[in-house]
């Protein structure tokens, strides 16, 4: 198999209403060689857009820089309103290792990108996730506390000083968070009951916050039209906490209430390996290698 490197990048920008502006920013990604734009979508209420692309690390860094440069030029945070937490024109840039690259390399790549954004665009940057240099900054919400408006007031406080750049927001673009994280698998399990408290209870069993699996976030949801409930989750590290282990735990917990699993959902994109791991586990494969997948020889 040809060795190739795939980094996924999913920047969130603080513009979801002026679609011509979004287009101009996305165009920077399209124009960058070595990068493939997979998806972008804008939310009016959040006034925010999410852009997804992949490529080798160097190309993804370049595309992310150009995207940021254009967003800094076109978005004025002084005029921005929206429901979603945000601190800057480009709010957050996560680099995600998919294939042929380590998390460590993505952390280094994120650090170099953050430095460049600060030095060339004069936007202060924070490092988060696996790239965080302070434990509190692993968690994005700690960095975003108070939003653009609040950070502007408190940026000179010791706990809030940026990792790169002056302790001063960019006049129109605010600040940007750059980091590295594992790909996230959005996985929902639908239960054959309409009792939401059962989904709530099971969500607490499996999520990290209440003693469940590490890197699992989850909550109970009522699916009114179906008359069923759902355990809705983000699995933030499918390698250490695989889909099948979470599902089988939920199945077991639900059985305790006489409730069956009636179906599941994977939302959006998922790395191939996360599903191969599922097949591997249920089939009890003894010695399987993803190079045995025919299509993996075709890239």
């Amino acid at each position: 198999m040809t060795e190739r490197q795939i980094v996924q990048c999913v920047p969130n920008i603080s513009e979801g209403r002026r679609l011509d502006v979004v287009e101009a920013i996305v165009e920077q990604v399209r124009q960058t060689e070595g990068v493939k734009l997979l998806d972008y979508s804008s939310d009016h209420d959040h006034n925010r857009s999410v852009i997804t692309y992949v490529g080798d690390l160097e190309s993804v860094q370049e595309a992310s820089f150009r995207l940021t440069q254009e967003a800094v030029r076109l978005i004025n945070m002084e005029e921005h309103q929206g429901a979603h937490p945000r601190i800057g024109a480009v709010d957050v840039i996560p680099l995600i290792p998919i294939e042929g690259i380590t998390m460590k390399e993505c952390v280094e790549g994120a650090t170099i990108l953050a430095e460049r954004i600060t030095s060339e665009l004069n936007v202060p940057t924070y490092l988060y996730g696996e790239a965080a240099r302070q434990p509190a900054r692993k968690n994005l919400s700690n960095i975003r506390k108070g939003n653009y408006e609040g950070l502007k007031e408190s940026i000179q406080e010791e706990a809030r000083i940026p990792d790169f750049g002056p302790a001063k927001m960019h006049e129109t673009a605010g600040a940007t968070v750059v980091g590295a994280r594992m790909p996230l698998v959005a996985f929902n399990v639908n239960l054959g009951t309409d009792k939401k408290e059962i989904a709530d209870t099971i969500a607490r069993c499996v999520r990290e916050r209440n003693g469940g699996f590490k890197n699992v976030k989850g909550m109970g949801v009522l699916l009114e039209e179906r008359g069923q409930v759902q355990v809705s989750m983000n699995l933030e590290n499918y390698m250490t906490t695989p889909i099948y282990r979470v599902l089988e735990t939920i199945r077991r917990e639900a059985a305790r209430y006489g409730v069956p699993v009636v179906g599941t959902e994977v939302i959006g994109l998922v790395p191939q390996q996360a599903l191969l791991d599922v097949a591997n586990w249920y089939l009890q494969l003894e010695d399987f290698d993803s190079n045995q997948v025919l299509e993996n020889h075709l890239r």
Copy 2:
């Protein structure tokens, strides 16, 4: 996702000892644009080589023709000895639909290829598998009956007249079988017992020949070093007879003897979809699309 077409082709040639000859023949595939050589291997006792490549239909047809042309030039069946059944220098050329192509298109492609081999190389050809024009020719072994030597004697008998070309073997290259079939999944299930009769019994439960699943071949095997037995199978249509259904049937049958499934094996290459179907079934996914696999956007 970019629409692309993948046909797999796995010709078997009647040369497994003169490796320079094998190289020269394989080189024809390497030199054909639009085709990717995945693997080739030679067996000395069988005096036979198997070559695997993929590409769009037209490129695969071209590579297969050039390979045949070179094999006809370099292999003399009058001098060929080997344990494996065979009727010609290029014994069989199966076209296998993998992605973006129907079985019907592969059948048409195989037919055109067979016609070309006959008209340009003067080698009579038979159509087999899904491309067969006579029911008996669906099965390769019916066409190969008597081998090169036997077919040479009987080729003018009505049942043995080639689909294309004169009822006369090529003087040195014999005849060639061309056809289309589904990808084959070689799947073994290892059982926690050393009683081979249990593997034999279960093989009979699941294989088509004894009333089991259609397109499943299988037999019991003793794994002496492990002190275990195995149900060794070929699943010849993973779409209509999926891996998980065969495994779960074996698991149930083995439980009747108090025997557990201790592991399984997939041998060689397998289409991605065959494993996605496994993940999909065990996860009880409600609405999954293979376009959700991140890597499927990268080709």
